[in-house]
Amino acid sequence: MFIGVRRRWVGVAGATALVVALTGCGLGTSPKKNEPTATSISVWFPGTNKTEIDLVTKTIVPAFEKDTGSKVAVTFVDWTDLSPKLNAAFAAGTAPDVFGHGPAAVADFVVNDRVEPLTRYVASLSKTDAEDLGTALPGGQVKGTQYLIPLSMQGNLIAYRADLFTAAGLDPNTPLPTWESVLEAAKKLTKRDGSGKVTRAGLLLPSHPIGLQQTFATLLGSAGGEQITTDGTKAAFDSPAGEQALKYLVDVYSGPNAVADNLGADYLDAPAAQQPILTGDAAMEVQTPNNIQQMLLAKPGLQLRLLQPPKFANARSGAALGGAGPGLMINKDSKAKSLAWKFISYLISAKTSATYTEGIGALPMRASAANTDYVKTSPVLTAFVQAAGEFRPNPNVPGWTRIRDTLAKHLDQAMHRQVDPATALKQAASEVNAILAAGK
């Protein structure tokens, strides 16, 4: 008989012990007790890119371990998968010394007192380093305090097909400095079938939920507007600049003069060979550096060029969405903070950082990277690095992911012409203000 009485008792004992264990450690959040002398750190890396993994495990970690006589245990998690893992680990007090995430998540770690302020450490950087990292670091700050050290930069530019420009009677060498001029060109580049349906988009802007918020942020910035007030207490997109930006976006996708189709499609995540601008389904589209490089590999000879970020004609200043990408933070309960910082500073050192960003096909985060071969030999990266000064990150406020999604929801309704742009922004602003108030 396989269910003996003894076995049952063992089971009961086990279950009881588990109940005790669950109630005992379930709600507690006591930090883990480490050995006093820290000779090892655990790191959860925000990314599963091959080059990233190879670089970290084969070069950086061995060199670092040899240098410091320490042990580094690295786990690679794509940053979209990090939240469940970190939530569970923080709840159980087993979070690693160093962990990565996207900038959008930082403020929530900060309000919960989970991450170490890094201002003191950043101050220890040499003057050259500090200046070199000047554009990257603000994306990892919350209310002026550094919490996240970005490992790469992000930013999008409008890519266009020179051959399609020529065929449409446009000069591919004439710059398009304003969104108005971009739209005029797009109208000439758009093709329709007999029923008026767009068969070739003159201009594609990301319009899937998160993309929509990012596109709006870029347009808003280039109209001189802000998403959130600088003190982080109120929505600021419910403004004339916001309306101008959203009206532009709506006009791109709908109405008789629409220059784009497939509203809601996430073309940014599509395979290179399927990118609308590669297949000829679009003449201009907003793109990431990595995608553009992949497209050029997939179809050598593709006549892609890049526009510098346009502004609205009436705007005095302008900015595009971009800036810090995913990066690393230090767990406030870590018993090995100085070792953790050593590891991070090793990663962002000029040489390592250059190899890293080149490997993942991202924008380098050091200004001096403009002089590396990776950038100099690539017209694509040169264009992106040139635009780096125009990139502004999303605001780092608590509840940002919810704010982002709320904004996207209302933008989506305006895009589908369920409400007019002004109403959509007003409704979004009232919901966002409530979230900001709750996050205080």
Binding site: A17, A21, G26, I53, D78, W79, K85, A88, A270, N290
Partner: protein, 290 residues
Amino acid sequence: MNRRTVVNRRSPGSVVALAIATLLVVSPFLWMISLAFTPEKDAFGSVGLVPAHPTLDNFVTAFVDAHLGRALVNSTIITLVAVLTNCVAAVAAGYAFALLPFPGSRPLFYLLISTAAVPVSVTLIPLFLMAKGFPLAGGNDVLGAGGSGLLDSLGGVVLPYLVLPLNVFLARQFFSTSDISLAEAARIDGAGEWVIFRRIYLPVARPLVAVTAIFSFTAVWDDFLWPLVVTTSPQVQTVQLAIARFESSGNVRYGPLMASAVLVTLPVLAVFLFNQRSFISGLTDGSVKG
């Protein structure tokens, strides 16, 4: 409903219908296989099923970059354990819920299977806490304190799958059609309940055991979220975590992704192919003769 399908078992019409349905159902998988042999830059570049420049590189990459070999070993171990425990404990429990009711067995049954209706987002963290507080594992004392418990171990990975509630439900449904007069007769002859289960009911439950094995195998083999949360070191990665290596956001590597996904499907298919023989018993034996 095709009137011929039920009785005329070798009618060409139904074979053709089955063949067409099979082809339709399997076609997305055929594209995955095709992509597994397609160089990265050509991925999704054409509608054709046969790659223009076929390559084996993606398979090499799958093994080298994602350590698929080790992941296959890990997944095999935890899966086999879960298959075994499910085939024994879930089947026995379902049998008793169907044929050996005891006071309170119905409410207990519904209470246990209803846990399957709670989304994993909610149970993930408590389960994680329990894995960490597992007594006498990973440096823990008898009260589950002091160490890391089952975190980052194969034991921790297999923890939520040892008995899947729906397998208990399945077994109960299966046995609920059984002929109870056999058991009554055996009891009168003085047979113990365990003997009755082993000698009378288990032998005719081969399809049930086969399905339980297949389902447990699939459920454990395919899960992503729990292994993601509970493991950290590369030594205990499962196959789905290995595949995720190629899904880096904004940087998906289609070739190696498809190659590893296809490779990882094969063991489950083998298990299925082996077990599905259990479905060629009762009805077919009789009908082929007739």
